[in-house]
């Protein structure tokens, strides 16, 4: 599989990263280099091998249903680039 410039544009869009046009071709080359190297995984027959779903043999922790958090609208918005009355503000979103 080879990554062309359109693919770079598509995934940059998916990842919401503005990649300058001048960087598109070099990025395609870099990604191709990496993906060609990764191709070696094709040598391994992993048919029937289960995917790793948890690194260590542990059980998922469950929490009691209690209200133990919240009530911190100030702390929540103090780092915001733009906020008002405890709302986060973004450019108008058209639905």
């Amino acid at each position: 599989m080879s990554v062309d410039k359109d693919t770079v544009r598509r995934i940059a869009r998916l990842a919401r990263i503005a990649v300058p046009e001048a960087r598109i071709a070099p990025m395609a080359d870099e990604l191709n280099g990496i993906f060609q190297w990764v191709e070696m995984l094709g040598e391994v027959d992993a048919e029937g091998v289960p995917a790793m779903t948890s690194v260590a043999a542990q059980k998922l922790k469950w929490r009691k249903d209690e209200v133990s958090d919240g009530g911190q609208a100030d702390a929540l918005t103090q780092n915001a680039p733009d906020s008002e009355d405890h709302f986060f503000i973004v450019p108008k979103v058209v639905e």
Partner: protein, 505 residues
């Protein structure tokens, strides 16, 4: 009693078409705190006041699952007669949106907690139809963007972000807008019986996406026979239809649109559409159509959700009686399928009815009394059954007193009116005894009252002899004399004898 769905056909230029409907319902899980954080789920709080740093996607924050939400999903799955998956996986659904702070929604994609099940829907003619459930999974709700606060900005409130939702997906087993509405109504009843969702559509606790397609006659039967979707039409998903009424409108409009489109030489494009309730039409949501690629993968912050079979069995053992079972039991008491379905459609109504039975009311009389008298008064006052002023025991007492012949049907209505006002809770003792409304059939007391009225009104006696129709005046006077507690039929009979009135008159 269940039969396969009957197609409602649409007439087109080229022949008849059938509607096929499937639904995805988002039901908010009833829990104190959110799916993966300890922030409150209460509705209507100040902006961002019920948000943990987990819900707001702050750096280094991690999800920890709320056991109650798991329990509620399992309980709902059991109520939908569905398979409970003892191991399920949380995945991340990746996309960018201002009300999605993590940049992904934690959901369940390939391995949901609940698999296939079935819901019986009740139609108006008393018929029931099975609708297959494809799956139920747990996921996080998003926050809310307000677009009307400022001309150039949207305001983001994350109070809802992270609240647990159950997404319930049906098979395409509904064939008309009535069936779609009936499904939602039944699902709502089930989750409310189970106590897993409050079903409040106004507050968005239940939201439905409706998938609509049309096919030529026979296409659906072929699909049911083969399981292949090839004989069904291309579907459109109508987003966030948030009332029963709108579902019917949206389905009708969308099916007609698709038929007209196909017959006009066009093709239906699989897309997301929005129902505009003001215009009564659906329209394409182009902004949502931008090549979505959600890049699902198992959330590495969470491990597989493993259930203990004994725990699931304990939930199963604690399930309440569900609408279908309750309906069957009510029908066994002599109620019609329709009456039973109406009573069980709201758990509170069924509970109220059962409380009346427990207080001694007879089933048929009780349902008639509720249908004919009490429900009307509640509707007029805009009150829910649990907010009404007359207790189930009070209504049961009134019904019982009528059955015992202690009061007439007319007086029963008066008693209900008085009880509505005074809320004594005990009409038998408090109203009838205290206000002397116990019906008097004792002819001695009636005769005495008649004599008193005659003695006081000799002129009227003459008049009534000439005009027997004036007897009604005497009845009224006697009733007044007895404080309204005389049995009107007994008064009538006694007057006829005393005044020598003809039988007809």
């Amino acid at each position: 009693m269940s039969a396969p769905a009957k197609a409602k056909t649409i007439k087109g230029e080229t022949g008849d078409w059938e509607i096929v409907i499937g639904m995805e319902v988002h039901a908010q899980v009833l829990s104190e705190s959110k799916l993966f954080s300890g922030a409150s789920t209460r509705f209507g709080a100040d902006p961002n006041s019920q948000v943990s740093f987990v819900d707001a996607g702050f750096p280094g924050m991690l999800p920890v699952i709320n056991e109650k939400c798991v329990e509620q999903a399992v309980r709902t799955g059991l109520g939908l007669k569905a398979q409970i998956n003892m191991s399920s996986i949380f995945d991340r659904k990746n996309y960018f949106y201002p009300d999605l702070p993590q940049g992904y929604q934690i959901s369940q994609y390939k391995n949901p907690i609940v698999g296939e099940g079935e819901v019986l829907i009740d139609l108006k003619d008393g018929e029931t139809i099975p609708v297959g459930i494809e799956r139920l999974h747990l996921e996080q709700d998003a926050g809310k963007s307000l677009h009307d606060q400022h001309p150039d900005s949207s305001y983001v409130d994350l109070n809802r972000s992270g609240i647990a939702l159950m997404e319930i997906v049906t098979k395409p087993h509904m064939r008309s807008s009535e069936e779609a509405a009936a499904f939602l109504k039944k699902l709502r009843a089930i989750v409310r019986y189970l106590g897993t969702c409050d079903g409040n559509m106004d507050e968005g606790s239940m939201r439905a996406d409706v998938n609509v397609s049309v096919c030529k006659i026979g296409g659906y039967e072929e699909f049911r026979r083969t399981g292949s979707f090839k004989t069904l039409g291309t579907r459109c998903e109508i987003k966030n239809v948030n009332s029963m009424r709108f579902i019917a409108q949206a389905v009708e409009y969308e099916a007609r649109r698709q038929v007209d489109l196909i017959e006009g030489g066009g093709t239906v494009v699989q897309e997301t559409r929005l129902f505009d309730s003001r215009a009564g039409e659906t329209r394409s949501m182009r902004s949502k159509e931008e090549a979505h690629d959600y890049r699902y993968f198992p959330d590495p912050d969470l491990l597989p959700l493993e259930l203990d079979p004994a725990w699931v069995e304990a939930i199963r053992a604690s399930l309440p009686e569900l609408p279908d079972e309750k309906k069957a039991r009510f029908m066994a008491l002599g109620l019609s399928a329709y009456d039973a379905a109406v009573l069980v459609s709201e758990r509170e109504t069924a509970d109220y009815f059962e409380a009346m039975l427990a207080a001694g009311a007879e089933a048929k009389a009780a349902v008639n009394w509720l249908n004919n008298e009490y429900f009307g008064r509640l509707n007029k006052a805009g009150l829910a059954i649990n907010d009404g002023p007359v207790s189930a025991k009070a209504n049961a007492d009134i019904v019982a007193m009528v059955a015992e012949g202690l009061i007439s049907g007319k007086i029963a209505k008066d008693v209900l009116d008085i009880e509505w006002e005074t809320r004594t809770g005990d009409p038998r003792a408090a109203i009838v005894e205290a206000r002397g409304m116990k019906q008097v059939t004792d002819t001695g007391a009636i005769d005495a009252a008649i004599e008193a009225v005659i003695a006081a009104n000799p002129d009227k006696v003459e008049e009534v002899k000439a005009k027997p129709k004036l007897a009604g005046w005497f009845v009224g006077q006697v009733m007044k004399q007895t404080g309204g507690k005389a049995n009107p039929a007994a008064v009538n009979a006694a007057l006829k004898v005393r005044l020598n009135l003809p039988d007809e008159g």
